[in-house]
Each structure stands twice: as structure tokens, then as C-alpha cells.
Amino acid sequence: MQITSLRIDLKYLTMFPFDSAKKLSFSRCISDGDLVIVYEKHDNMKAVKVSESGILQNRFGVFKHSDWIGKPFGSKVFSNKGGFVYLLAPTAELWTLVLSHRTQILYVADISFVVMYLEIVPGCLVLESGTGSGSLTTSLARAIAPNGHVYTFDFHEQRADSARDDFERTGLSSLVTVGVRDIQGEGFPDEFLGRADSVFLDLPQPWLAIPSVSKMLKQDGVMCSFSPCIEQVQRSCETLRSDFTDIKTFEVLLHTYEVREGNLWSWQDNEGGSMSLKSCKKRQRSTNGLENASSLTIMAKRNGESRGHTGYLTFARLKCTV
């Protein structure tokens, strides 16, 4: 039984344990240089690099990084005023929520579907353009680890640089290579001819890049194009029909739910019927739950605010001609 294989000395905690040395680090304690996700609330998180002398200041007070070092990930830590936050190990999902938005980005619903539908598994070679803010790239890297590679291209030099810095920060540099290139104009580099297992496009005119994609893919390989507008999808599909089969377009969304425990009164006991939920609570407290006509119920309701549209995902498989 072989439990460990590679051993690489690691300076920092990486986003996910893509070799067994890092796996042990998943459960190890926070140390100097680690990237942690500081969790205040589900909609308030921040990525922080831990340093001996560092401090974090927020509405709860001042937190000293030195207090964090040596604690396990997932710990609750306190500020000088007794306020607290949680320190989490970074994951691709958390990263998507905290990364700096240099462009529009993909979120978990689209990302998950893309990774599964592109049949990406460890060891795959994946091409992507544009890199944008690297939100999808991070999940692609997780899926191809430990021995695959993502080559991602953006024609915007500064964005490519920032993405590269981010992958350095999240410890993914050995899995991701960022290139500067106009993919719509020049296509993907020839060195990838017939070598890609999957290709992903998030470009304004994806149909211009599709002929290159069909040259890069292995036989039976799958590509995906993400476009917000149906006209883009229409043109892409027309282009896809010559070399691809199994062309499918989807829209995926995620509805989230709010859960709370509330008092619901029996109709008969609710004299007057005008009692508000608040006053019910008071009455319940005063009777201390004894002989209580109301019952505590756990209720779920769809969150009012949610994304109504992100984009269309068009998938296609390279025809098998050999």
C-alpha cells in the first residue's frame, strides 16, 4: 500500500493538495506565508497572505496575523475588541468569491458544468481563452491536477500578468501557463496541434477561433464556448457544424434558499388574527414554551435576489474521422 508518492518541499499552502506532501498540509496549521480566506459572513470574505508582522483591520477590530499562526484552518480567531472571523483554507469555489474582478467571471454553476461536460480528468491537456480574471482557470487546474496542464491565453497583457500573479499566489503555477495571444486573430499556437483533450472559449467572437479549436483537439475531444448573447451562439453553432458533432447548448443557473425557524400559530389560538410574528415570539417567551399553541417550524424560501442569466454554454465534439 503506497500512500505517499511525490515529496516536494512546500513553502506555502496551495489551493488544493495536488501532491501528497501538500495533502498533509491541508490539515496542518496555518503558517507564515500561507494564503487564507478570512470569512466574516457568507457574502463577506477576503484572501489574505499571512505574515508574522501582518495585521488585518475590519469592522470587528484589529487582528494580528501572529495570533493565527499555529492554529488549524477552520479556526475562529478574535480581534483586540473580541470580534471574530474564521480562517479557511482556500478552495476554487472560495477563490471565485474573493478574486479581484478584472473582467466578468464565471461562477460555480457554469464552472462545474463546464468541467464535467468537457470530460476533464486528471492528466488532461486543456486550452482556454480568454483568461479574464482566472475564475474558471482555477477550477480547470483543480480538475487536471496532478499531472495535466492548462494553457490559457488572453490578448490583454496586463490581465495575463495579473492572472499569472494570482496563480502564483494560489500555488497553481506548475499547473497553469498563461500566454498573451490574440486567439480570434491567430488561433491557438501550433505546438498544441492535435494535443488538446478539451478547449474552452469565453471570447466575444468565438466563431473566429473555432477553426483553430478543431485543429487543436484530439479526435472525439470536446470544446465549449460561453457566450452571453444568443446571436453569438447562433453564429458559433453554424461554424461548429462542419467539423463537430453532438452540438448542444445549455443554460445553467443556481437558485439559493433562505432557511429560518419561525413560529406558526394555530388559527384558533390566534385571537383577533392580527398578531404579528414578533408579538408571537414575545408571548412564547413569556410562557416559556409550556402549553404553547404555536409550533416552531423550519421554513425554506427561495432567495429573492439571484442571477437570472449568465450566458449560454455550447458544447461540441470533434468528429471522428480516422
Partner: protein, 450 residues
């Protein structure tokens, strides 16, 4: 001969994009009308229409290739059809005809059933029969291009069925089940499955704890992501591990199979090493509880992959390894978790958790397995119903066991995209179930407060 073949099978450098003897394949007949799993052996056959076709000719072909039924010397065979790189005939931009003059009566087709049988006897191919049907149709020319295309497709499916060779991936396996036997995988839709893997942060080298009561679809999907690293441990209550028949449909090599293990929850909890004594109160409680569950689940447990041809349901599953003795698999997926691994999990905790147990109470289950995770580990719980997850989420909040709690309901819509004919598909799956996701946190508030 079989010995040499077996060695080839276990060869890790084998091109996974080309089939080999003994490999598991997904056969898509007529564009998803029928989907079946098969293991390619020299002896395996499938029934298409009224013909029993040998699958031997599929061995060594690239995945993605198409086949048609043809009459060979020793009965019907599947012969390879090369896909043209020309576009299909769907590029209809403008429609000039309409169907006002189309009269629907049964006299439109002058070719009779006997004529067709006669053609067949003379050795006509399916394509030739379809051509003859068109030539003898009085109305074909009058049809709109759209209905011509529909007519053609219908006849082609009937007289010249196509078989498409697909690689079994979590994606295709889940889709095939969802389409024909959704109840066997707890109505888990492919987008929901993909979200479970994300929310649970499944990645190479992680140790993933699962409670998979969906016949192994979760276990298989996780193992696919691990690629022969880490572990996926399916934990169960009581003595018997849950069946994971679906795992056999993936083409997992030995490395991956080795990483698929099971362990009882009491063993994972026990403080001493080695198998726990049967007097363990936890285990006793489990055994009592697991009985009614097994009864409820029995239809799914019985569906155990078999060779039997099933004519009413469209998905026949033909992957029974034991029934094809020529295929000797080195390692069987789903052995008992090795002691060393359990030791490590006890020290470090699991790094991810996925629960998909339609008949278990979510909170009751989570309460027991969540403490097996390391702090900061992600988890995802699937349920077809919302309420059990809502209760579970509330209790996790009250007990301060997790943060980042969220219940999500995935929504998926497919579109037909064609020139001037783009619209959502008429059929849509109303629900992909619900997911409760979150991150485990250190329970104790520690002493530094204030």
C-alpha cells in the same frame, strides 16, 4: 490468448481514446433513443431491431466512431461509418414551401412492407431502403425542408440504425441513467452531480468521504476526479457496504480501483485500531436502523448490473464482469479501506464529504459523519427534497458546526439552435434536486475569547 490480452488491458499507457478487448463502452443507438452499456468481448452481442449483432468489430476502434448494421457471413455485424466533415443537411436558411397542400393519408407511400422485405432479402442496405422510401413517397417533395429532414431521420432510424461508440465518463453515465432510469440514481441530474464535486472541493490527492446510496454514481464520479490519487471511502452504517455497481461502467484502471474503498462508520469513529468490537453501541444502533432502509432501497439494490436484455426499458446494462470470464480485472474497486489509510484519516480527517442517501435523515447522517472531516473541509449533501436539507442546515447553524451554509437548487435548460429556429427544448427536467453545501469549522470556541 486471454492472458496476453489481460496484460494489455492493465497496461497504463493504453490509449484511452481507442477501445480494447474487455473495455466498458456506452453505446448510443439512434441519437440517444436507446443507450446501453456493454463490455467489449469477442463474444458479446447486442440486439438492434430484430438482429443480434456481435460487438467484436468495435474492438480497437476510436471512441466517437459510428457503426451501422450490415449482414456479414456469420450474421449481422456492425460496420464502421465514417462521418463526413461536410455539414449535415441542417443548413436551411429560408423556407419557401409550406404544408398547405399536404394531404395526410396512408396512400402517400407506394412501397409496401413486402416490397421492403423483398429488398432486404436481396441484400439491400438500410440506406438503400431509405432512398427507395423517399423515391416512392408521393408527398416527400411537397414537404417543407424541415419535415423532409424529420422524415429522413425517422426512416433512417428505423431501417439504418446508427450506433455511436462513447467513452463512459461520469457525464455520459449520469446522463444515460437520468434519461431512462433516473430513480436508480436518486434523480441526480448531471449538473447537480457536477456541483456536488465542486462544492465538496474534490481534487487530486484528497481523501473524500462519501455516503453513496445511489449505486456508486457518486463514488465513480469522485474516483474519476481523483485519477488514482487520494481515496474515495464510501462509509456505511451496519455491516454491509452499499452497492456500487455503477463504478464498473467506468473504465477505471487498477490505480483508480485501488483508491475506491469502503468502511463502516463505526470503524472510522473507533479510537482503537483494527476492527471494532461488535458490541459497539453505535454499530448496533446502525444495524437496527439500516433494516427498514434496505427494504426501501431494495429495488435499486436489486438492479445490480446484469446481462439480461430488457426490452421495455431502453437501457440495458451489460457489464457484468463475472459473466464475461475472459476479462480478468486485476483489482476490484471497492475493497475494504486499508488500516493504514484509516489511521491517517483518524489523524488528519477527510478533506471532503458528499452525502447522497435518499432514505436517510440528512441531519442524523451529517451529525455522525461531519466530525470525521478535518476543519475547513468542504461538504455537499444531495437530496431530492428540500425540507430535510432545510432542517439539516438549521441544525448545523444552531450547533455551530459549519459556516458558508447554502442550499442551492440547480436549474438546467437545453436549447435547439438552428438558423431561424432557435428555442428552448420542449422537454425540460423540472428538478435537479437540492444541495446543501458548507465548510466544517473548529467546534470549540477556544479560550482566547476576549
Amino acid at each position: 490468448m486471454s492472458i496476453i490480452k489481460t496484460e494489455e488491458n492493465s497496461n497504463q499507457d493504453q490509449n484511452p481514446r481507442i477501445t480494447w478487448e474487455g473495455c466498458s463502452v456506452l453505446l448510443d443507438i439512434n441519437d440517444g433513443d436507446r443507450v446501453l452499456f456493454a463490455r467489449l468481448t469477442t463474444g458479446s452481442k447486442i440486439k438492434i431491431g430484430n438482429k443480434n449483432c456481435s460487438l467484436q468489430s468495435l474492438i480497437g476502434c476510436p471512441f466517437g466512431s459510428s457503426f451501422q448494421v450490415e449482414d456479414g457471413k456469420e450474421g449481422p455485424v456492425l460496420s464502421r461509418v465514417l462521418q463526413s466533415t461536410e455539414g449535415t443537411n441542417l443548413q436551411i436558411m429560408e423556407e419557401s414551401r409550406d404544408n398547405r397542400r399536404l394531404v395526410d393519408n396512408n396512400s402517400a407511400q407506394s412501397l409496401t412492407g413486402e416490397d421492403i422485405d423483398e429488398m432486404r432479402r436481396k441484400g439491400a442496405s438500410g440506406d438503400e431502403i431509405v432512398k427507395a422510401l423517399i423515391a416512392n413517397s408521393a408527398t416527400f417533395e411537397k414537404k417543407t425542408a424541415f419535415s423532409q429532414e424529420k422524415y429522413l431521420l425517422k426512416k433512417q432510424k428505423k431501417y439504418a440504425p446508427r450506433v455511436l461508440l462513447r467513452r463512459p465518463f461520469a457525464r455520459s453515465i449520469c446522463e444515460a441513467y437520468f434519461k431512462k432510469h433516473a430513480e436508480k440514481i436518486g434523480f441526480l441530474r448531471v449538473d447537480t452531480l457536477s456541483l456536488l464535486l465542486s462544492f465538496a472541493n474534490v481534487s487530486a490527492y484528497s481523501d473524500v468521504l462519501v455516503v453513496d446510496m445511489l449505486d456508486g454514481i457518486i463514488t465513480g464520479a469522485v474516483a474519476e476526479r481523483l485519477g488514482g490519487t487520494g481515496y474515495v471511502c464510501n462509509t456505511h452504517c451496519g455491516v454491509a457496504p452499499y452497492p456500487i455497481n455503477i463504478v464498473r461502467m467506468f473504465n477505471f484502471n487498477n490505480d483508480i480501483c485501488q483508491r475506491i474503498v469502503h468502511s463502516s462508520v463505526s470503524e472510522l469513529h473507533s479510537s482503537e485500531n483494527g476492527p471494532s468490537p461488535s458490541t459497539d453501541p453505535l454499530e448496533d444502533a446502525c444495524n437496527i436502523r439500516s433494516q427498514p432502509n434496505e427494504q426501501i432501497l431494495s429495488p435499486s439494490a436489486q438492479h445490480a448490473v446484469s446481462m439480461e436484455e430488457n426490452e421495455d426499458g431502453n437501457m440495458e446494462i451489460m457489464t457484468d464482469v463475472s459473466a464475461s470470464p475472459k476479462v480478468v480485472k486485476g483489482t476490484k474497486a471497492g475493497r475494504k479501506a486499508p488500516v493504514e489509510a484509516i489511521k491517517i484519516w483518524k489523524a488528519n480527517g477527510f478533506s471532503s464529504l458528499i452525502i447522497a442517501a435518499p432514505n436517510l435523515d440528512a441531519w442524523d447522517t451529517v451529525k455522525e459523519v461531519l466530525p470525521l472531516l478535518s476543519y475547513s473541509a468542504s461538504f455537499a449533501i444531495y437530496h431530492q427534497y428540500l425540507q430535510p436539507l432545510a432542517t439539516c442546515m438549521h441544525n448545523l447553524q444552531v450547533e455551530k458546526m459549519a459556516i458558508g451554509l447554502q442550499i442551492s437548487e440547480p436549474w438546467l435548460r437545453e436549447y435547439q439552435v438552428l438558423p431561424s429556429r432557435t428555442h428552448p427544448l420542449m422537454q425540460m427536467s423540472a428538478t435537479g434536486g437540492y444541495i446543501l453545501s458548507g465548510t466544517r469549522i473548529s467546534g470549540s470556541d477556544q479560550t482566547q475569547a476576549k
